[in-house]
Point group: C2
Chain length 315, copies 2
């Protein structure tokens, strides 16, 4: 069931021996929010640790905190996880039906936790975590500020996307006042491109297909391309973002091949086209401007279905 802000705050204050789960294929928002929450709970004298099915990618290593000594979890929280399947297979099997509190900002959340605190209008999960921590009188240390800032910055494309609100900027201002290393974090997250990434970007752009007078773009990233350029799955977000940055494109669709041969599809849209609505038709979901779904088997057939649905959405 959904709970309100105050109840969520009390749950955090009462929780003991807390396990915090992120979503698989983690980004700065789920990791930043989880580690910031763990630090805040430890500040209150509690034990807390973070678990991510895929581990922490290299580019987010700076968000990690020393793990607690082993303890048996008595309260389980997920941060930025819209659906239990997004926990990743191993984590879902162990904890999928045991989550006590989900803290999330996804509009299409299928409630899987015992209790959920959801703010669909929040640009990032970290904004919600920030407000919860403040309400608990947490001292927002530089370490906590860095992690929350990383999350806010990640999910807003560094304050560029349409989900940014005045609140987002006010929270960022406060995090900077508390010492968040904005330059260092953004250089790591947004301004560092490996030579292999630039190669991959070029390959993907060369294969870009445009449809409906350039209003729909289709990008494809195969395993072979990832292997040739030495890029990892979690590094392709900026290419996905590129899919809608081409002038005239309203819907950007990126097909990425998974190691098992299935396809992860990411959709990015501009104002007036609901990406979540498009992906929901194929069992996926997400936000209005950024959503995803998946397909097994033949890519061309899947692309045709996506394109057809995208065309209908444009009309």
């Amino acid at each position: 069931m959904k709970i309100d802000f105050k109840t969520a705050m009390h749950r955090l204050m009462d929780a003991e021996d807390v396990l915090i789960l992120t979503h698989a294929n983690p980004d700065g928002d789920t990791l930043g929010g989880a580690f910031a929450l763990a630090l805040a709970l430890r500040q209150r004298g509690k034990r807390a640790r973070v678990l991510c099915a895929d581990g922490v990618p290299e580019r987010y290593a700076f968000l990690e905190i020393p793990p607690e000594d082993d303890f048996t979890e008595r309260y389980i929280i997920s941060v930025d996880v819209a659906d239990r399947t997004l926990l990743g297979k191993a984590v879902e099997e162990s904890y999928g039906d045991r989550v006590d509190l989900a803290i999330d900002h996804h509009g299409m959340l299928r409630l899987f936790a015992r209790e959920s605190y959801v703010e669909p209008d929040s640009a990032s999960a970290c904004e919600i975590v920030y407000l919860l921590l403040l309400s608990m009188n947490t001292r927002i240390t530089k370490d906590i500020a860095d992690r929350l800032y990383a999350g806010v910055s990640t999910d807003t494309g560094c304050f560029c996307y349409s989900n940014v609100t005045a609140r987002t900027h006010r929270i960022a201002a406060d995090l900077l006042d508390r010492g968040a290393d904005v330059a260092g974090i953004n250089v790591l997250m947004f301004e560092t491109k490996k030579p292999g990434f630039l190669q991959l970007e070029q390959q993907v752009l060369q294969g870009m297909q445009l449809f409906e007078n350039g209003r729909i773009s289709l990008l494809t990233i195969t395993r072979a391309m990832l292997e040739e350029t030495g890029c990892r799955d979690e590094e392709i977000d900026p290419i996905v973002a590129l899919s809608r940055q081409v002038e005239g494109v309203r819907i950007g669709i990126t097909f990425k091949e998974r190691p098992d041969g299935s396809w992860k599809v990411s959709v990015r849209t501009h104002e007036g086209v609901d990406a979540a609505q498009l992906c929901a038709q194929f069992g996926g979901g997400g936000h209005k401007r950024a959503a995803g779904c998946q397909f097994d088997g033949d890519k061309d057939a899947a692309a045709q279905r996506m394109l057809q649905a995208a065309r209908l959405l444009l009309d």
Copy 2:
């Protein structure tokens, strides 16, 4: 001479029939600040118009305001202009020695105006204009907020760069509250890439040279490349930014050929390397992380000189 904030405010309040000058090859900060200031002066019942040597580029057309009927200027202000030569030749000839007030945020400003109000620590000229307008009790309308936001966003790489302060975010929050269309503006300024631009980006990256174990990058943009891809000079900023985004690069140097065959050199650096100091050795200037200079004649010889100076700076 330099004047303080309060004096600058009084100058603006007393000014009549105001001509506002931007720098040539204009960006969102100089245009946003100039047009916002013009709107604010008109709100006070004054006449004001904006003059830019190069006109307003297409991507910034949304910042323009209806021109005033002709009037003879009695007070001349420059916004975001660090040196009179940056006004552009025609404007400099007519007005270079007649500027009454320069409002700027460049550290190495060579004072050319009768009076200058300079805040070198301000991330953008628009932050200064915002504070001046507030102090004059200007009603920050949506139109003014849009223009100031565009400037703040431009000069901070959408809040990504190390020049961002808590003040920057607080000002952005207030501008959003006053109706600034953050999504629309950022889509136009940061998220729209013409197919020709993507082509140019690829060509430039293919020619990228790395020196000093990859700590210095050198990009070259020729007239032929601009013509082939249909890109204009004012569109290359994201490529210049790319020069320091390659992993390991500390100093990114971009040589861009001008129509007259001379070379405009843009330098972008990471923490610990002063771009302005590097460019000052060749008669240029700018900020710590972003600066420029120019060379006539042979590009290779100029590149050698730049590289040598850059190497010394790294050591």
